[in-house]
């Protein structure tokens, strides 16, 4: 089902976007996701900085991936200095 789009009178002035991209989930783009081995993880945080999506956070003190946005590129797994990340099938 397609969502009905607003008519021109309902749209904000000046063509300003009115939805944050956080409402647009890109998690279904890829088929893989990172799987973290927290035993191996040294909390170096590199995966947070390398993630093009900003989908890896350390709020809990260890890496967590937000699967709503992970596109499965695999940079994190490729770059983890201690090989604590491997890519696994989503779902």
């Amino acid at each position: 089902m397609t969502e009905a789009k607003p008519g021109w009178r309902e749209l904000p002035f000046g063509a300003v976007p009115y939805k944050p991209s956080l409402e647009y989930h890109t998690g279904d783009w890829g088929v893989e996701r990172p799987d973290f081995d927290l035993e191996k993880c040294t909390r170096c945080t590199l995966c947070h900085f390398y993630c093009p999506e900003g989908a890896i956070g350390f709020d809990a003190g260890y890496p967590e991936v937000d699967l709503r946005f992970c596109k499965g590129c695999g940079i994190c797994a490729n770059e983890c200095p201690v090989e604590a990340i491997r890519m696994v099938r989503k779902g």
């Binding site: 002035f13 000046g14 063509a15 300003v16 009115y18 939805k19 991209s21």
Partner: protein, 404 residues
């Protein structure tokens, strides 16, 4: 009405003087003949501390408009001035300024477009930009240039409008010709223009004023595809319609202040006119002179000066011209390959289903600054009278003052 001071100013100086009084936040400009006096005078105002504007001497007109867009998006009042090829170089940015709904003010000192290169006046530059989404005001004399450069801010920034405004003045004819100009005091001008108001919008992170605001961020100029672009163009359609209503409001307020009343259209001797010329800019002074002369000879001649070409005051034109027998259009620009000049085409279009319409003849004239003396205007009126006698137009498209 406020006290005024009479100054001797040419058109460029009148623009610069008005902008000095407005004291906008940012002026970004690049020199081009015959606009140079505007930037030179303004630079002097900056150098002498008469304004505290940030003057950005950009490296091109494209950057002049880009800089104005950046500044206006950041909430500033921004002004620039250009002519001909400079306007052409800005082309891309003209559409962007209007589509981003930024009320920039620009003086366009009308000059012929290259090639061959020519520095003199015609309207091919601003007429080419007629679809860019800018409001266009055409001036007859330096007084009108001054007044329009004050009024333009209130028009463009009107909350129903929020569009950029071009103040068009004929190169050399106005830009370099000294005239008496009644000027308001700096205080009166600043009071009149006030502070720039901002529209409230609902952005992706919440409500915000429509400007780049670090505390309430907005995204301006997104990628807009087939699912939304058309709707956004409707906003511009609506803004132009609303400008037709907003401009008379501003004119009225300005008239109270200055004693000079402007309208979208300035009819002259039109009450009983059988033949009339319609046109824009400084030539209308010559037309007025010729109308007076013809009237003395008993010819029922009239003139319709269009001050505002965008938005196009269609209803008002129909009302004012429907009873005239023959209307001649003075087009100082040619639309190559088209049935006629831009004003001619639009005028004929609005009369197609008006029920009652005059015969309409096009006179393309003055290209590249070709002189247009009263004799040529009379020639045009003779053509109109001939059409009136015959009850038909023989040549729809005429070139006035060209050698055959």
């Amino acid at each position: 009405m406020r006290e005024q001071r009479l100054l001797g100013l040419n058109g460029d100086e009148a623009a610069a003087y008005a902008i000095k009084q407005v004291n906008p936040d940012v002026v970004a400009a690049y020199p081009i003949t015959p606009q140079t006096i505007i930037v030179e005078r303004f630079s002097e105002y900056v150098a002498d501390g008469l304004v505290d504007t940030e003057f950005v001497a950009v490296e091109s007109e494209h950057s002049a408009m880009s800089c104005c867009i950046g500044a206006a998006a950041a909430g500033a009042r921004a002004f620039t001035a250009t002519a001909a090829n400079g306007l052409a170089l800005m082309w891309e940015m003209l559409y962007i300024a209007a589509s981003l709904r930024l009320p920039i003010v620009m003086a366009v000192v009308n000059r012929a477009l290259s090639a061959p290169i020519n520095i003199h006046n015609d309207h091919s530059d601003s007429m080419g930009a007629r679809d860019s989404g800018w409001i266009q005001i055409y001036c007859e004399n330096s007084q009108e240039v001054y007044d329009a450069c004050v009024e333009a801010w209130r028009i463009g920034e009107h909350l129903d409008v929020q569009l950029p405004v071009m103040v068009c003045l004929d190169g050399f004819t106005l830009s370099h010709t000294m005239e008496n100009v009644q000027t308001l005091s700096d205080e009166a001008v600043r009071e009149f223009v006030g502070e720039r108001p901002y529209i409230k919008v609902q952005g992706h992170l919440g409500e915000a004023e429509f400007r780049l605001d670090p505390e309430n961020p907005l995204t301006m100029g997104p990628l807009d595809l087939y699912d939304f672009y058309f709707e956004h163009k409707m906003h511009q359609v609506e803004a132009m319609e609303k400008a037709l209503k907003a401009m008379p409001q501003v004119d009225e307020e300005y008239a109270e202040l200055s004693g000079r009343g402007y309208q979208l259209l300035h009819p002259y001797e039109m009450e009983d006119a059988e033949v009339a010329l319609i046109g824009l800019g400084s030539t209308m002074g010559t037309v007025r002179y010729v109308v007076d002369r013809l009237r003395r000879r008993g010819v029922k001649a009239g003139m319709m000066k269009m001050r505002v070409f965008r938005p196009f005051p269609a209803e008002q034109l129909i009302e004012l011209l429907k009873d005239v027998e023959v209307v001649g259009v003075l087009d100082k620009a040619m639309s190559f390959g088209a049935p006629g000049g831009p004003l001619y085409e639009e005028l004929r279009t609005i009369f197609y289903d008006a029920g009652r319409q005059p015969l309409i003849v096009d006179y393309v004239y003055g290209l590249g600054g070709r002189d247009t003396p009263p004799r040529l205007i009379e020639e045009a009126f003779e053509g109109l009278m001939e059409a009136k006698r015959r009850g038909e137009v023989v040549e729809r498209l005429n070139f006035l003052g060209v050698r055959w």
